[in-house]
């Protein structure tokens, strides 16, 4: 069974405790995580306007979610 739910995937990857610590110590990362975590396979089509820009920045920008995950690969 496949899942796109980021919270579920983080749990499966064993990164939940690290995520909690990062959120507790880094409000900028927390803002990015909370923006990204509501992403769903359906919402990927809402790529225009403020939401699309926010999602992009929250994933790739400073304190973004992707660099944080990549550093744990």
């Amino acid at each position: 069974m496949y899942s796109h739910d980021l919270s579920v995937l983080l749990k499966v990857a064993g990164l939940e405790a690290q995520l909690e610590r990062e959120i507790a110590s880094n409000p900028s990362f927390a803002a990015n995580w909370n923006t990204v975590k509501v992403w769903t396979a359906e919402s990927r089509y809402q790529a225009s306007g403020l939401n699309g820009k926010d999602m992009y920045n929250a994933v790739t920008g400073p304190n973004g979610v992707l660099p944080w995950i990549k550093s744990r690969w």
């Binding site: 919270s7 909690e20 959120i23 507790a24 409000p27 900028s28 927390a30 803002a31 990015n32 995580w33 909370n34 923006t35 509501v38 403020l50 939401n51 820009k53 926010d54 920045n57 929250a58």
Partner: protein, 192 residues
């Protein structure tokens, strides 16, 4: 899983968030806990027009800055905090629900005294209701009862004092004219 009741710490967290947002002058339409069965947890929903005007990321950043400035960031489970636009259908439902205020009476009955401590059953009966089962909240001892009525339901301390005196004399007491939103009554397990 069935919805569990909000606990005192959840209500306190909501109060801290509301106070911090008020201090930072964040425009807020509503703040309330919402049960999410898929996640098996409550989420603290903050409905604010900033989601539309500034975007969700900037809104989170400013809200978390407000929590940090109020020195409560560490004590708020920010992972469970979710911002929503007032135009979001779920936010609209939440705001409508918060407007539905039920007035009724709280009946407290002292059932038994296991280990010398009073066991209380608390029920809320709205004056106008659609009928149906009324759940009872069970509490052990005067401390739990006082805490529940004062801190979570919002009954004045002197009214609780009088109720506890009544219970000592006749094993039952009624507190009239209590106002609760439908949402809060459900969160406190005082409504089905």
């Amino acid at each position: 899983m069935d919805q569990v009741a909000l606990v005192k710490s959840d209500i306190e967290v909501e109060g801290k968030v509301v106070e911090a947002l008020s201090r930072a002058q964040v425009p807020v339409t509503a703040v309330d806990w919402n049960w999410v069965p898929q996640l098996d947890e409550f989420q603290l929903i903050v409905v604010t027009p900033w989601v539309d005007s500034k975007g969700p990321r900037e809104t989170y950043a400013r809200i978390f800055a407000a929590l940090s400035n109020a020195d409560v960031y560490q004590s708020v489970p920010v992972r469970k905090l979710l911002v929503k636009s007032p135009e979001d259908p779920a936010a609209k439902n939440l705001v409508e629900d918060l407007k539905k205020i039920n007035e009724g009476a709280i009946h407290v009955v002292c059932n038994s005294h296991p280990n010398g401590q009073a066991r209380y059953s608390v029920v809320f009966t709205p004056y106008l209701g659609s009928g149906g089962a009324i759940p009872a909240k069970h509490l052990l001892g005067d401390g739990e009862l006082r805490n529940f009525l004062e801190k979570r339901v919002g009954v004045h301390g002197y009214v609780v004092d009088r109720a506890i005196v009544d219970l000592g004399q006749s094993n039952s007491s009624t507190i009239f004219n209590v106002q609760l939103t439908s949402r809060r009554a459900k969160q406190l397990n005082l409504a089905a």
